[in-house]
């Protein structure tokens, strides 16, 4: 029986490939020693020339800047930004997409969390904001932020994903764009707030109530209908995002959080919850967030964001710099619960290796997967495929298109020719290390 130190002595060269075209065993990095340190931190792994002699840099020779009251990221990182679909605030929806290819880990920083606002971001005075719960309840009640602060709270990680995320995959040809443009309408944060069921305990619920209508305090008073079943399960009135109060674009001072459910249902700037016996059939739940099928019928109340994964490193814009050892990494998540398994292929889906899942693997939250890969400098076709604990498996693009159809044209990358795409993403790596979006 091998000891831990025996294993640490092993080199990745000793490991058999886990799948063709250079995919290594997922434990290779964990077993490796110092040789792997560089590989984990950077994406350029060309064999380095001998290092220059080391000397103190100017910033090491003087005292640094004062600590600011609110920390800002390094000025060298200021170009890591969301991309905006409507930067001049024309009278239509504004989308801001997360740059997943420039981030790592499992939660999205607050300034880079995606947002979609259908009529701008309201400037809400938290002292004057009210949440009313009424309709089919025993006693209608009004809550303020001050009163909610007295209630028992819970924290949980949860992704929020727009039903229209990854819409470019319905284009008949693959659109050349970054992960940010293709998959930027999903993010993950730790949310803290009061369970909706706690407040419903206080109002009492009439047994006739089957749905509740959630409504925002924004200009369009955006409203969506949600089953009471979800309210009594894991719905939250979220007040905090990654430890600080919710960002304005994410619904300050409070939003509805429905873990695993379509983003638009997680109503922001939440001011009203009305319990009803039938869905409201609002504009957004009958028109915008319904999915038209080729036969002319449409899917409605498509609540779940189903199991999905995509590779963020490498990806378009993150070129490989010479053959050698790389870490393939990406994001997996499911509205059904925990991610059970992620498989990675480097030969377009012919052979697969199991990726390591970064602990903790949390329900309805981002799970980072990683797999070591020895790129030989030849063409490679990278894919990831996720399974969740309910047994659901991420479909191929072909499987989705067979049921849902595809656009007859190549639409702009910001258009929404379809919704709820959770199929496989494929990156082709060429001999120069450039990464392209392809269909396979």
């Amino acid at each position: 029986m091998k000891t831990t130190s025996d294993r640490l002595k092993r080199d990745w060269k000793d490991l058999e490939g886990a799948a063709r075209n250079g995919l290594l065993d997922r434990r290779a990095f964990l077993r490796g020693g110092a040789a792997f340190a560089a590989a984990i931190t950077g994406y350029s792994l060309a064999k380095p020339a001998a290092a220059e002699p080391l000397a103190d840099d100017p910033w090491s020779q003087v005292p640094g800047a004062n600590s600011p009251p609110y920390e800002k990221r390094s000025r060298h990182e200021e170009k890591i930004l969301r991309t905006l679909s409507n930067p001049n605030g024309e009278p239509r929806t504004q989308h801001a997409r997360s740059p997943h290819h420039l981030l790592n880990g499992t939660f999205t920083p607050n300034g880079l969390h995606f947002t979609i606002n259908h009529a701008g971001t309201p400037d809400i005075d938290p002292a004057k904001h009210h949440l009313v719960i009424h309709g089919l309840v025993k006693q209608p009640l009004v809550f303020t932020l001050d009163t909610l602060a007295r209630y028992p709270m819970v924290s949980r990680m949860a992704f929020v994903e727009c039903g229209g995320n990854s819409a470019p995959f319905f284009s008949k040809e693959p659109i050349q764009a970054s992960v940010q443009a293709l998959h930027g309408l999903v993010s993950c944060a730790e949310w803290t707030g009061v369970r909706l069921s706690t407040l419903l305990d206080e109002t009492g619920v009439d047994p006739k109530a089957k749905w509740f209508i959630a409504e925002g305090a924004d200009a369009p008073a955006l409203s969506r209908s949600v089953p009471v079943k979800k309210a009594l399960d894991d719905s939250m009135i979220a007040l905090y995002q990654n430890g600080e109060r919710i960002m304005p674009g994410n619904g300050y001072p409070m939003r509805l959080l429905l873990p695993g459910y379509e983003g638009n249902m997680n109503v922001k700037f939440l001011r009203r919850i009305k319990l009803v016996d039938q869905p409201g059939m609002s504009y957004y739940e009958t028109r915008t967030y319904t999915q038209l099928l080729p036969d002319g019928k449409s899917l409605q109340f498509n609540f779940l964001q189903e199991v999905k994964s995509f590779i963020t490193h490498p990806s378009p814009g993150l070129a490989l710099k010479g053959p050698g050892l790389y870490e393939i990494s990406g994001i997996a998540y499911s509205g059904n619960g925990r991610i059970a398994k992620v498989m990675v292929s480097a030969d377009g889906g012919q052979s697969w290796a199991q990726a390591a899942l970064q602990e903790p693997v949390l329900s309805k939250a981002f799970t980072r997967f990683r797999l070591p890969w020895k790129w030989n400098g030849g063409p490679a076709v990278l894919q990831s495929r996720a399974w969740d604990e309910s047994g659901d498996v991420q479909p191929t693009r072909a499987q989705i298109i067979a049921v849902r159809g595809e656009s007859k044209r190549v639409p702009p990358v910001t258009a929404f020719p379809g919704q709820h795409y959770n199929g496989i993403t494929t990156w082709a790596v060429d001999e120069n290390g450039e990464v392209k979006h392809v269909y396979a």
């Binding site: 024309e90 009313v132 809550f143 009163t147 609002s282």
Partner: protein, 178 residues
């Protein structure tokens, strides 16, 4: 004996405290409010007509409101401008082009038109229209789309009865979650 009774009482007391916590004892800080005091916010209209306010409007009345408050974005006669057209009825199964969802070919309930106009329009001044104006605009749009007659009046009785062509065009994706 006294001790034994005391202990029994203590046990019972603990049980009650624990079970009330388990049942979700809350701080009870929500302030009761009368439905009449919620009225200004209570703008939800349900497909069976629940929530529709008193008042009424005709297509002709709606046409004049439209010119003042809607035309700049939605164009002459709802033909579209900087924002979506309000008319048009292309097939949803057109294989040659991406189908467009319109009121006539897609929206399942006429009540949604009233609800959306009242809560969201006009874009720059939402909830500034009177209920009469919202009924009139709803009637005008339905009439432009030939979904009601040009002299039909829309009110809380008539609007929910308008049968939209795509009413049965939807499949509930997760019936077990409702």
């Amino acid at each position: 004996m006294f001790t034994r009774e005391f202990l029994t009482c203590a046990v019972v007391f603990v049980f009650v405290a624990v079970s009330s916590a388990a049942l979700g004892q809350t701080p009870s800080l929500g302030k009761p409010i009368n439905p009449t005091d919620i009225a200004a916010w209570d703008i939800s209209v349900l497909p069976d007509g629940t929530g529709l306010p008193p008042g009424s409007g005709t297509p002709a009345q709606g046409a004049s409101v439209y010119v003042q408050k809607c035309l700049m974005c939605h164009g002459v006669d709802g033909k579209g401008g900087p924002n979506n057209a309000l008319i048009g009825n292309p097939p949803l199964t057109d294989r040659e082009r991406d189908p467009v969802k319109t009121i006539a070919n897609y929206w399942p309930y006429a009540t949604t038109i009233f609800d959306f106009i009242r809560r969201t329009m006009p874009w720059q001044q939402p909830r500034s229209l009177t209920n009469e104006e919202v009924y009139s605009l709803t009637a005008y749009i339905l009439s432009l789309n030939k979904l009601i007659g040009e002299n039909d009046t829309m009110n809380a009785e008539t609007l929910p009865k308008v049968r939209m062509p795509n009413r049965d065009g939807f499949i509930v994706r997760y019936p077990d979650k409702i």
